[in-house]
């Protein structure tokens, strides 16, 4: 039982658009949309999954990423936002950066983010593939944080 029937393409389209208008994540799969966006209850059937997947695929600004793992849902066919949202000031810093990922500063320094919390990104400089030097704290509201680009 769903609050929005996937059998009605228009209703589904409207529901998907409504969900995406407030969704700030970068990745989405049909299961997540079923539960969070459509008010789905119970496990969706194959037809429902196909309809939702197609609806996402036809949404501008999302590209097919193939199978990716979600901590809740396991491996699912996924779509990624093609353009980054400007979420500074709207979103906590910890979710704008990936843990264990490499980021470049404007001067070319490469940083690896080892942990991120509400208050700080915590990184180490990476040289020759190794983390070096002391732990670096970058405040979420700082220009330094905003200037980081994924390497």
């Amino acid at each position: 039982m769903v609050r929005c029937s996937v059998a009605d393409p228009n209703a589904l389209r409207a529901a998907v658009d409504r969900y995406f208008s407030t969704f700030t994540g970068e990745l989405i799969c049909a299961l997540q949309l079923w539960y969070e966006g459509l008010g789905g209850q119970g496990v969706p059937g194959a037809a429902e999954m196909t309809a939702i997947t197609e609806a996402i695929a036809n949404t501008p600004g999302w590209k097919d990423m193939g199978d990716m793992r979600y901590e809740k849902f396991g491996v699912q066919k996924s779509f990624k936002r093609t353009e980054k949202l400007d979420l500074h000031g709207k979103k906590m810093i910890q979710h704008m950066f990936k843990r264990e990922a490499l980021y470049k500063e404007p001067d070319g320094t490469v940083l690896k983010i080892v942990t991120s919390e509400l208050w700080n990104l915590r990184c180490f400089e990476v040289k020759n593939g190794k983390m070096t030097g002391p732990m670096i704290k970058i405040h979420p509201d700082s220009d330094r944080a905003k200037a980081l680009v994924e390497a």
């Binding site: 901590e71 809740k72 849902f73 979103k91 942990t115 190794k130």
Partner: protein, 898 residues
């Protein structure tokens, strides 16, 4: 006379050690000085009759649990492994066969030099590698027998075995099974291993709470995990201000007996029925937060149908129905439900509000889920409405980072502490509770990755041993502690050790506990007082394994664990043992990266916020650092963000929380679990609606006719797992713990007077607890503190002393885990259920049997090293204990030229 003062962290808290002439004289709490920061202040309600706006602040003392103060005894203990030892009848056959493995547990030992012992270990590693491959070696750590970021299990042990390559043994959440396997399907928090977040809830509690529900919770006994005794004062504050404490436990436990306004004693394993009946009262009387539920709950109406008897089972979960299951009168259940709903109520089960013996039953997952839902119904996250057990959630400076216990960034196998990450090339795995089954049967299948915290999906991975294309395990390196006392049906562990499948067994430990006596080679490690290390208490205080682990301490403290004394006898630090073995294997330099233990300690200072706050020299000189809590700290109350609908502001890492969602499929409290419908639709133990079920070993079982008593074996009061009671004979003088009879410290077991009379048992009688899995002799305490059908005996005995190891013979060491069922909670729920044990009891009329006299084995080896060595019995009785210290003192003074 040369007195030295050093500091350390041990299991149970941070301590100061006073050493005189090379001998430990006293172990005390750390008393803060005037240079340490002020304590946090919480302004809250007054004490009853006292001034308004009382300020609460902690004592300027880091207060450990009393077990931590026995470290001196543990260092000079009678059961210290003094020298490397090799089993007397071990034969180093070239193919690993015919090694008299059936004698493990009964054979004696001979003294060996370090070179002889480690050369044998290295030859065996090489043989096993050549004969079978790297995966034929497995290794497993203790349940917390030591402490320190450098020299302990998640660090130095992990570095060695990751570099060597081995079949890793995944841990089950043996202390909180139901919460790991159940609660995430209700509210997420799998990254907190199923436990709730309790940040800043001490302040919330002091300001708002009126009723505390302490469900299967004995915080004075379990002393906050590693956190020590600091939270005892917090609960006294609550008491003083008139907060009503309700304890629910088949045993009127040690916290309850001094604090409970009301004690409820459900029949073991029926707590989920009690929880459902509370819900029934709330649903039928409208006693829940309807606005909150309308906004935040998923499929609440369906769940209400189940509770009220409109579901498929057509059974209303009325208090009368619950009375039949639990033994608690229906009127009391109604009164409990109404009190809970009509006052601001917080509560939890066990440490972190998500532990407790109740979740170690067959109904553990269903209890945990229902418990979470009850708090949700009352508006969890609103002021004074939360899951919180009065032993976590103190203020903390979250802007100070120092890697606590089990933090992946604080391990010497990993960057940034190490230059090179150690990666285990072997992908085959084993699962701890079923390790004996896998070895004995040569095959085992299970779901899940243990308590990895990595995702709901990781509960459902399919595992098989041996992994296709991999060899079975033939060598076992056991590191610290004894699972004979903490795993279940533990005679099977002995049978595993005696199996020829295990061609070679190494045990590395400080004390000669149950499993050490099963090894071919025993390697003596020293205590954390005999080596340098570095550690933290607070972030890791309540168990580690997760970010900012619940803050069970009043003071966060980082300690330079300086060496108080030199390693005793031939013992060595764990780091030294692994480094030396690596050297003999040809990769010593890669293992150490050229660093000493002290160098590694300094790396932790360099790679954390500690280096911004104190110089390395000052830190070493002072011995500890307290970061303090800023006066203008920002409050971030657990679940407040969800209740009030703003992005999560507590120390978590999940994006969906920032979007205001819980970690469930729907982002809401799932009264019908979508994740279980998706992942495990046919699981009969853990159904989409959490339901009380008859246990596969409970009072509805046919077996109950033969074995009518429930055994509960909670976490112990006089131990941390298996580490203290066995090595500290002082504890045996406590009548609530053990009774020393005929040279043996018998564990006490508690029985209700009505049942004791039926069985002809009197207080102080020797009694036999038994079922088809084994039997254990204990001494009876006849007490009304037990539910009438319950036998209470603390689990985790470090002493395992059977008449005949491995058989279903009698144990006189108090190892009641021999009686508990080895079966997993469910086919898809890989947890264990020690508190779903049926047994019977009878008065022991015969002569007291003899145990294995394992002390004789130690005595023999000790005399080989020193003909004048003190025997175990001399040390237990005291004069040997003094003699050891006198010898150490003489050697120290000789070395110092005095």
């Amino acid at each position: 006379m040369a007195e030295k003062v050093t500091h350390s962290i041990v299991v149970g808290g941070a301590v100061t050690i006073h050493t005189v002439d090379g001998v430990i004289r006293r172990v005390r709490p750390i008393v803060l000085d005037n240079n340490d920061p002020k304590g946090w202040v919480i302004k809250a309600r007054s004490k009853v009759g006292g001034p308004q706006d009382t300020e609460y602040t902690p004592n300027r003392k880091v207060q450990p649990a009393f077990i931590a103060l026995t470290e001196k005894n543990r260092a000079y203990s009678y059961d210290r492994i003094r020298y490397p030892m090799i089993r007397e009848d071990f034969v180093e056959t070239p193919d690993g066969k015919n090694r008299n493995t059936e004698n493990r547990g009964t054979s004696g030992y001979r003294r060996a030099s370090w070179d002889e012992a480690l050369d044998l270990v290295v030859r065996e590693i090489k043989r096993i590698h050549k004969q079978y491959g790297q995966e034929a070696i497995t290794a497993m750590t203790s349940s917390h027998h030591s402490w320190g970021n450098v020299g302990y299990k998640i660090s130095t042990f992990a570095r060695f075995f990751r570099m060597l390559g081995y079949t890793e043994v995944k841990d089950n959440p043996d202390s909180w099974e139901g919460f790991t396997w159940g609660a995430p399907h209700t509210y997420g928090y799998y990254w907190r291993l199923g436990c709730p977040e309790t940040f800043d809830l001490l302040e919330d509690g002091l300001q708002n709470v009126e009723t505390m529900i302490m469900w299967s919770h004995d915080p004075d006994t379990t002393h906050g995990g590693y956190a020590g005794n600091e939270s005892v004062m917090w609960r006294h504050w609550l008491d003083d201000m008139g907060v009503q404490f309700i304890y629910i436990d088949p045993f009127n436990n040690f916290s309850s007996i001094k604090q409970a306004d009301k004690w409820f004693a459900p029949r073991p394993g029926t707590d989920a029925a009690l929880a459902e009946a509370i819900a029934y009262v709330w649903v039928t009387e409208g006693l829940y937060d309807k606005e909150y539920i309308a906004k935040h709950a998923h499929r609440f109406e369906e769940w209400c149908d189940y509770i009220t008897g409109k579901g498929t089972d057509k059974l209303a979960k009325t208090p009368k129905w619950a009375e039949y299951e639990t033994g608690i009168p229906a009127a009391d259940i109604k009164a409990l439900a109404r009190r809970w709903a009509s006052t601001k109520t917080m509560g939890g089960s066990g440490m972190r509000a998500g532990f407790g013996g109740v979740c170690r039953t067959v109904n553990g997952t269903e209890f945990a889920r229902t418990m979470v839902l009850l708090f949700a119904m009352q508006g969890m996250g609103k002021p004074g409405q939360n899951m919180w057990g009065g032993n976590t959630g103190s203020p903390m400076d979250y802007d100070f980072w120092f890697g606590g216990y089990s933090d992946p960034l604080a391990m010497i196998w990993n960057e940034p502490i190490a230059d090179n990450v150690a990666v285990n090339p072997v992908t085959q795995k084993l699962y701890r509770p079923n390790l004996p089954d896998a070895i004995l049967n040569g095959h085992f299948e299970w779901y899940g990755e243990g308590f990895c915290g990595q995702g709901i999906d990781h509960e459902f991975t399919e595992n098989i041993y041996p992994k296709p294309g991999c060899s079975k395990v033939h060598m076992f390196w056991r590191y610290g502690g004894t699972f004979m006392g903490t795993m279940l049906d533990t005679n099977k562990w002995v049978r595993m050790y005696q199996s020829p499948e295990l061609e070679f067994v190494v045990n590395q430990d400080i004390h000669f506990h149950g499993e050490a006596r099963m090894a071919d080679v025993v390697l003596p490690a020293c205590t954390s007082l005999e080596r340098v290390d570095i550690g933290e208490l607070c972030s890791s205080g309540n168990g580690g394994y997760q970010s900012h682990s619940q803050t069970g301490n009043s003071w966060q403290v980082v300690v330079f664990q300086d060496k108080a004394i030199e390693p005793l006898w031939d013992s060595r630090s764990d780091y030294w043992i692994f480094a030396e073995t690596a050297k003999k294997l040809g990769w010593g330099e890669q293992f150490t990266e050229g660093r000493t233990e002290l160098d590694w300690c300094k790396r932790y200072w360099e790679k954390s916020d500690l280096c911004d706050r104190i110089s390395w020299e000052d830190f070493m000189k002072k011995g500890y650092f307290v970061p303090g809590v800023p006066e203008d700290r920002v409050r971030r109350y657990g679940f407040r963000w969800f209740a009030e609908g703003f992005p999560c502001d507590t120390p978590n890492h999940k994006q969906f929380q920032e979007e205001g969602k819980l970690g469930t499929f729907t982002g809401k409290w799932e009264f019908v679990s979508e994740s279980l419908q998706y992942w495990a639709p046919h699981d009969e133990i853990r159904t989409p609606i959490a339901t009380y079920k008859h246990s596969w070993e409970g009072h509805h079982s046919i077996k109950a006719k033969k074995y009518p008593f429930h055994l509960i074996s909670p976490h112990p009061r006089f131990d941390y797992h298996t580490q203290h009671n066995s090595s500290t004979p002082w504890f045996w003088e406590i009548p609530e713990n053990r009774v020393y009879l005929n040279g043996n410290p018998y564990l006490v077991a508690r029985i209700h007077p009505e049942k004791a009379a039926e069985k002809g048992i009197k207080d102080g009688d020797v009694i036999e607890l038994f079922n088809e899995r084994g039997s254990v002799l204990c001494v009876a305490i006849v007490t009304y503190r037990c539910e009438v059908n319950t036998i209470h005996a603390f689990g985790s005995s470090g002493i395992y002393n059977p008449v005949e190891p491995g058989m279903e013979s009698m144990d006189i060491g108090g190892c009641v885990n021999l009686l508990t069922p080895g079966r997993l909670i469910g086919d898809m729920v890989p947890g264990m259920a020690p508190n779903s044990t049926l047994m019977d009891v009878r008065k022991w009329e015969g002569e007291l049997p003899k145990g294995q006299f394992f002390e004789d084995k130690l005595d023999k080896v000790a005399k080989e090293g020193d003909p004048d060595a003190e025997t175990c019995i001399e040390i237990i009785e005291g004069h040997g204990f003094e003699k050891i210290q006198e010898k150490v003192r003489k050697n120290y003074l000789k070395g110092a030229g005095v």
